[in-house]
Symmetry: D2
Subunit: 270 residues, 4 copies
C-alpha cells in the first residue's frame, strides 16, 4: 500500500521519463506527460499503472537510492552512484559505522552514506556554508535518514571534532590541506577516501598522504556507459559522461615503536 509521505518514482512508457515525488493528499504535479494527481497514486498500489484523465498512463515504482541521490539538485561537485558505491566498499562502511565527511554539499553522497550505515550508525558531516547544510538536511530527511547524521556548520581548518572514526571522506577543493585533520579523526588502520576532479590535485594529495604515512594508497577512475535498450540494436549510447573525478584511498598507520622510521627498517632488512 502507498501511504502519504512515501517517495514514489513514476515512469511514463511513451517517453521513458521518470518523476520522483513525495506523496501528499490533494497535491498535483505537472510533468512532461501531463498533470498527475497524488490522490490517484494513493488510490493505487506499487507497480500499478495509473490512467490519467487525458488517457495517458504512468506506473508507480519504488525509487531506489540511486534514483533519489541522482535527482538531488546540486550546486556543488558531482558524486555519482558509481563513485558512491565504490567508496562505501573501499572505506569501512557497514551498518553501525561512524563516518566523518566533508563537505556536506547538497547531501547527495551524504544520503547514500547514511542509507547504508543503518539506524545505529552516524555520519558527521562538515560544511561551513549554512545554506548547503539546510539543503542537505532537507534532502536527507526526505529519504528518511536524517537521524543518522550530525550536521556541523563549520570550517574544518581547525580539524574535526570526532576521534577514532571508522572512515573519513573528503570532497573539497583542497583535500591536501586537511590530511592531518583526517589522520587525527581516523581510528588507526582505517581508511581515508578522497574525491578530486583534476590530476594536479591527485599529485598534491598523494604528497600530503605520504607525509602522514598513509599506506596501501590507490587512485582510481570509474567510467560508466549506458547502453541503448533495443534488443535488436544493442550499442552504447551516443553521449556519455566523460569525467566526474578521481578517487584516492589510503590507510592510517601509527609511528613505529622506539622512534625507528620505516625507512631505517627497510634499509636494514635489505
Amino acid at each position: 500500500m502507498i501511504n502519504e509521505g512515501d517517495n514514489v518514482l513514476i515512469w511514463n512508457p511513451k517517453k521513458g521519463d521518470t518523476v520522483l515525488l513525495t506523496v501528499k493528499k490533494g497535491a498535483t504535479v505537472g510533468t512532461h506527460f501531463g498533470q498527475i494527481y497524488h490522490d490517484e497514486i494513493l488510490a493505487h498500489d506499487w507497480g500499478e499503472g495509473v490512467i490519467t484523465p487525458k488517457g495517458d498512463i504512468f506506473y508507480i515504482t519504488k525509487p531506489t537510492l540511486a534514483d533519489y541521490t541522482r535527482r538531488i539538485k546540486r550546486q556543488t561537485q558531482i558524486v555519482f552512484p558509481k563513485e558512491a558505491g565504490f567508496i562505501i566498499q573501499h572505506l569501512n562502511f557497514f551498518p553501525g559505522a561512524r563516518i566523518v565527511e566533508c563537505g556536506t554539499g547538497s547531501g547527495s553522497l551524504l544520503t547514500a552514506f547514511a542509507h547504508f550505515i543503518g539506524d545505529t550508525g552516524q555520519i558527521y558531516t562538515y560544511d561551513r556554508r549554512e545554506e548547503f547544510s539546510k539543503i542537505a538536511q532537507k534532502n536527507a530527511t526526505k529519504w528518511g535518514v536524517n537521524n543518522r547524521i550530525t550536521f556541523h556548520v563549520q570550517d574544518i581548518e581547525n580539524g574535526f571534532i570526532e576521534r577514532n572514526v571508522d572512515a573519513v571522506f573528503l570532497d573539497v577543493p583542497n583535500p591536501y590541506d586537511y590530511i592531518g585533520h583526517a589522520y587525527d579523526a581516523l581510528a588507526p588502520g582505517c581508511r581515508l577516501g578522497i574525491l578530486v576532479p583534476t590530476t594536479n590535485q591527485i599529485s598534491q594529495t598523494l604528497l600530503a598522504m605520504e607525509k602522514y604515512n598513509f599506506i596501501d594508497v590507490m587512485v582510481v577512475e570509474l567510467m560508466l556507459r549506458y547502453l541503448k535498450t533495443d534488443p535488436y540494436r544493442i550499442r552504447p549510447q551516443d553521449i556519455m559522461i566523460g569525467h566526474t573525478g578521481y578517487l584516492i584511498f589510503g590507510a592510517k598507520t601509527v609511528p613505529l615503536k622506539d622512534g625507528i622510521t620505516p625507512q631505517e627498517v627497510i634499509q636494514d632488512g635489505e
Copy 2:
C-alpha cells in the same frame, strides 16, 4: 586492540603487497615478504608496523569489504566491487531488506550484499551446486555475515520460494529463462538486477523482460581504471580489466485493472 578471530589486512611497504588473514594464536603464514607470526600481530594494535625477525616490516590495517570480496577465490563469473556498489544502489538494498540472489557462486557478491543489509536483513541465495554453497558459507562466515543469509541448494527451474522481496539479482548464464520466476518473487514496483557478460545475452534478456512488462529498463557497463601513485608521474596503469559484464535493471509492474493493455491506453492517448 586486535583479537583472535579478527580479519586483518597486512601491507608491506617494499612491494606494496597485501595479505588478508584471520588471526589465530600460534599460527604462522608465509608471504612474499617472509614468514608472519600471528602472535606478533596480537602483540600489536591496528595501524601499527611490525618488524619481522628478518628485519622486514609490515603494517596492520582493517580490511575493507572490497579487500575481502576481491580476494575470495572464484570458480565462477566474476563480479567486482565496482559492479557490487552499483547494484546495491540501483536495487532496493538497505539495512533490513529481503533480497533473492542466484547463483551463489563463491559468495563474493553475496558477502557484499549481506554486509549492507545489516542484522535485520536477509539474503536468500540459490545454487544447485552444493560445493559452491559450502564455499560461499565459509566465505560469508569469515566476514561475519553468515546469519544474514539463507542458503538454498537447489535449481531455480521451478522458481524461488520467497515472495514480495525487495529485490532480485540474477547472475546466471541464462537469466532470460528465469525472468518469470524473478517476477513472481519480487514485490510490485521493486527492481530486478541482472549481470551478463555478452551482448547476445543482453538482447535475449531484454526481450524476456519486455514480455513480463518490466519497466524503466536500463543497461550499463562500468569501466575501472587504476592510476599509478607516483605524484610526479600521474597516469593510468598500463593494463586494465577490459570487461567484467553488463548490468541490466528493471522494475516490476502489475497488469492494469479491467484488462486493458498499456498499448491500448497509449494509442488512445495519442
Copy 3:
C-alpha cells in the same frame, strides 16, 4: 602565401572557436566572433593574426585533414578521425593503392581515404543515392582529392565492378549481405574492413565472414577522450562521445588446392 582557393582554418582566441573556409576574393563570412572579410585573409600570411574592424582578432592556420573531415556535414552514419586513422593502417592503404568503398555518404571517410593514397591511387566508391554522391564530390573537390575517386551511383546488390583491389571498406547497414561481393572484389590475402554501430550487426557480419573463409578476424572499438587544456587543472572533459561504431577486419583467403577443407587438414594434423 595564401592564395584564392586555399582552405584556411581561422581560430578566435576569445572563444577557441574555429571556422573553416575556402578563400575567395571579395567574399565575407559571418562568425560567432564577427564578420570576416576574405580579402583581409589574402592580405595576410599563414600563422598570422588578423585584427578585425571591430577590434577583434583571429589567426589563420592550415586546416588538417581531421579539421576538414570532421566538419563535413553528414546526413549519414558518422565515421570519426579516430576510426579513419585506424582503418587506413589495418587495411592495405598506401600512396598508389586501389580501394573499394561503400557507401559514399557525405564523403567524410572517402576524403580521408583519398588523402592518403596520393595521386597514383584510386578509391572506387559506391552509393545508390545520387544526392549523396554529389555532396561527396563537392566535399572531395574542396579538399583537392576528387581526381583520386571514381564515383559509382549504383546499388551494390549485384556486386562491385572492380577486381583485385588492395582493400574493401563497407559502411552500410547490412554489410553481412555483401561479404561475398567484397570477397570477389578483393585481391587474395588482402583485407576487408567494416563499420557497424550495433553488436547484433557484429554477430551477423562475423557469421558471413566465416562462411567466406575470411581469416585473422578482429573486432575493435575506439574511445576518444578530450582533456581540458588548463595546465593547472588537467582533467578529461565532462562530456564525451560514448560510441561511434565497431570496426571489423579480416583477410581474404582462397580455397585449398585439391578440394581439401581446412577442417580436414586441422583434424588430420591433430
Copy 4:
C-alpha cells in the same frame, strides 16, 4: 605472385597466431605451429593455405602497416596504431609532406609516418642514440620506406636543422624543453604534435606551448578495446591496454604586426 623479399603475414587457424616474415629462398622459421619453409611460401600465392609436412596448415596474407609497426620490437616509449592514425590526420601529413620527428626510437611511428607521405615526402628524424637509429633504419628498410627518411643521429638541444616543415612530432620525455625548437622548424600555421605518458608532462607542455603562442591547442587520449570474435558471445576482451599516452596538438602563429600583443587586441575589442 609472391617474390623473394616480400613481407608476408602467415596465420594459423588453430591458434589464431600470426608470424610476419620476409621471404628468402631456402630459409626456414620455427613457429608455435611448427617449422615453416620459405620455399613453400614461394610455391604458393597470396591468400592461399599451405599444408605443412606435419599436416598442419597456415595461410599467406599481405601484412598491413598496423601488422608491421605493432611487431617492431621496442626498447622505447610505445606508440600504437591508434595513436599513429590519429596523429597523421591531426598534423599536416599527406603524400609529399616534409615532417620533423624526434625521437627516432625503434622506428615504429617513423615507419607509419613514412608509409603515408609517399616517395615525394620526407621525414627528418632525430635521435642521439646511434643504436636506435640503426634499428629504425633496418625496420624502415624492411617495410620499403627507408628512402623517405633522413636520419639525424644528434641531440636536439641546439634545435632542428630543417625549416618550414609541414609538421613536427615530439615523442621525448621532456617535450616542454623543445617547444621553441619545434616552433623554429615549423611553417607558420602548421601543427605541432606531442606524445606524453603522464599528466604532469601535459601541464608542463601546455605552459611551454602557451609561451610560444601555439593556438587551437587540444589534448586527447585514445582507448582501444578488442572484442572477442565468437558471433554468439560478443563481448570485449577481459584484459585491455589501459594507457599508452596523451596526445597534444597546437598550431604555430607568428607575432602580430606593429608589435601589438593579442591580449591588447582582445581587451580593446571587449
